[in-house]
Amino acid sequence: MNKVMLGLVLGAVLGLLDGLSAWFTPAVRSMMATIVLGSTVKGLVAGLLIGWFARKVRSVPLGVLFGLVVGFVLAYIIAAMPDANGNHYWFEIILPGTLVGLIVGYATQRYGKAPVPKTA
C-alpha cells in the first residue's frame, strides 16, 4: 500500500478506535456520535498529512517527529473545544491523539511503499 493510502487507512481506523474509546468516559457518552465522527475525520486528516510527508521525506525519525507534531496539533484543536458543560478534556484527547500521530508517522515510513521513480 502506498504511503498516503496507508496513512489514510491507519489514520481513519485509529481515529475511529480512539473515538470509540470515549465510551469509557461516562460523562461524554451522550456525544458519542459526534466524538467518533470528529475523531475519525481528525485521523483521516492526520493520516493524509503524515502519508504525504512520508512520500516526500524518507526518514523514520523525521516521519515519527512529524506524526507526533501533527497528532498533537490536531488533538489540541479538538481538545480546545469544550463539551456541553464547558469542560475540556486536554489529557484525554491530546495524549492518545499525539500517540496516534506517532504510530501513523512510524507506520507510513516503515511499511508504506515508496512511489516508483519515473523512467525517461
Binding site: S21, F24, T25, P26, F91, E92, L95, P96, L99, V100, L102, I103, Y106, A107, R110
Partner: protein, 327 residues
C-alpha cells in the same frame, strides 16, 4: 675467524631465499606471507610502475610437483575472474628453474584477525556471504577450492572479501563443479592429489578429505569448509562494550548442516547454503532449523518491535486514562 652474529645470518639467509626474477621487469621487495609451499613478496612491476605481489616456491624446497602446482594455480586463477579472487597479472620463469606468479597486491587483513577485533553479527554474515558468492562462482566455473579456512580469506581495506591460496584447488570435469565431481583431465588437479593423498588443513578439511578422498564429494567439500568458517564467525566476539550473546540457533543449524559428517547430509551446493543465511537475515524461516513455536513468534514479531511498542504505549495510555476517569 669471527662468527657472524644472528642479524647477519638472518640477512644472508634472506638474500639466499630471494631468487633472481630474470628479465628485470619485477623488483622483489619484502616478504609479506608464506604458506606450506610458497612464499609471497611484495614487488614492483618496473614496466607499469605498480606494486604487485609475487609468489614463488620456497627456495630450497623446490620440487617439480611444487612448480607444477604453482603453474596450475596461475592457470586456474586466470580463468576465475571475480571481485572476490585476486587476479593474476603474469606467470614468469625463474632463471634457476621454477616459476613465479605475479598477482595484484592486496592490502588487508585475514578474516580471523578482522573478526577477533569485535565485529557485529550482521557484518560477519555479510563477510561470509561475500566469501560464499566467490566460492559459488568458482564452483560454477568448475573449480573446487579445497582449503577453505579463515587464514585463506582476506578482507581488503574497502571491506571486500577475497578467497586466497588456490594452490590445492581442483578443476573438475565439465565447466560446472556443481554437478557430481569427477577428476578432469590429467592437468586438472594438482600433482599429488591422487586417491589416498590428504589435501587440506587439519581442523578445517572435510572428513572425507582427511581420509584421503579429496574429490568424490565435490562441492560439498567446500560446503564443509564454509560451514567451519561460518562456525568460527559465529563464535567470534561482538563489538567491544556490547553484551556477549549466544549466536542465533538457526545460524548454528546452518553451520551444523554444512559440516555434517556425511557429504550427502550437507547442503548440495554453496548457493543453497548462502540462501539459508540470507533467509535468516530477511527474517524468514531457516530450512535447516526446526524452530519451536516461541522461536517462530519471536522471528515473526522481531521486525515489528517498534510498532508493537508504540501500540502498547497507546493501549497503556488509554488504560491509564480510563483508570483515572473511574475514580
Amino acid at each position: 675467524m669471527k662468527t657472524p652474529d644472528d642479524a647477519t645470518v638472518a640477512r644472508l639467509q634472506r638474500i639466499l631465499d630471494t631468487p633472481e626474477l630474470g628479465d628485470g621487469r619485477y623488483e622483489l621487495g619484502e616478504r609479506i606471507g608464506a604458506g606450506g609451499m610458497g612464499v609471497v613478496h611484495v614487488g614492483l612491476d618496473r614496466r607499469l610502475g605498480r606494486e604487485v605481489a609475487i609468489k614463488f616456491v620456497r627456495p630450497g624446497a623446490l620440487a617439480a610437483s611444487d612448480v607444477a602446482r604453482l603453474r596450475r594455480e596461475a592457470l586456474l586463477l586466470a580463468r576465475l575472474e571475480h571481485p572476490g579472487i585476486v587476479p593474476v597479472h603474469d606467470l614468469g620463469e625463474l632463471p634457476e628453474g621454477g616459476v613465479f606468479l605475479v598477482m595484484k597486491r592486496v592490502r588487508g587483513r585475514g578474516l580471523d584477525e578482522v573478526v577477533q577485533g569485535g565485529v557485529p553479527l550482521g557484518e560477519r554474515l555479510r563477510l561470509f556471504l561475500q566469501l560464499a558468492d566467490t566460492i559459488a562462482f568458482a564452483h560454477a566455473a568448475g573449480v573446487l577450492h579445497r582449503d577453505l579456512k579463515p587464514a585463506n580469506v582476506m578482507v581488503g581495506t574497502f571491506g571486500e572479501v577475497l578467497a586466497m591460496d588456490w594452490g590445492v584447488a581442483r578443476v573438475v570435469a565439465g565447466s560446472d563443479a556443481t554437478t557430481e565431481a569427477q577428476p578432469a583431465t590429467p592437468g586438472g588437479g594438482p600433482p599429488g592429489t591422487s586417491a589416498g593423498t590428504v589435501i587440506g588443513t587439519p581442523g578445517w578439511m572435510a572428513p572425507e578429505q582427511a581420509r584421503g578422498d579429496a574429490i568424490s564429494s565435490g562441492v560439498r567439500m567446500d560446503v564443509f569448509g564454509l560451514g567451519r568458517v561460518l562456525g568460527m564467525l559465529l563464535d567470534a566476539p561482538g563489538p567491544a562494550g556490547a553484551a556477549a550473546r549466544t549466536p542465533p540457533a538457526p545460524l548454528r543449524s546452518i553451520a551444523r548442516r554444512a559440516t555434517a559428517e556425511a557429504p550427502g547430509e550437507r547442503y548440495p551446493g554453496v548457493p543453497e547454503m548462502a540462501a539459508e543465511v540470507r533467509r535468516f537475515l530477511d527474517g524468514e524461516r531457516v530450512l535447516a532449523h526446526h524452530e519451536t513455536p516461541a522461536e517462530r513468534i519471536r522471528r515473526v514479531l522481531a521486525p515489528h518491535t517498534i510498532a508493537i511498542v508504540l501500540i502498547g504505549a497507546y493501549v497503556l495510555v488509554r488504560a491509564l486514562l480510563f483508570a483515572i476517569n473511574r475514580r
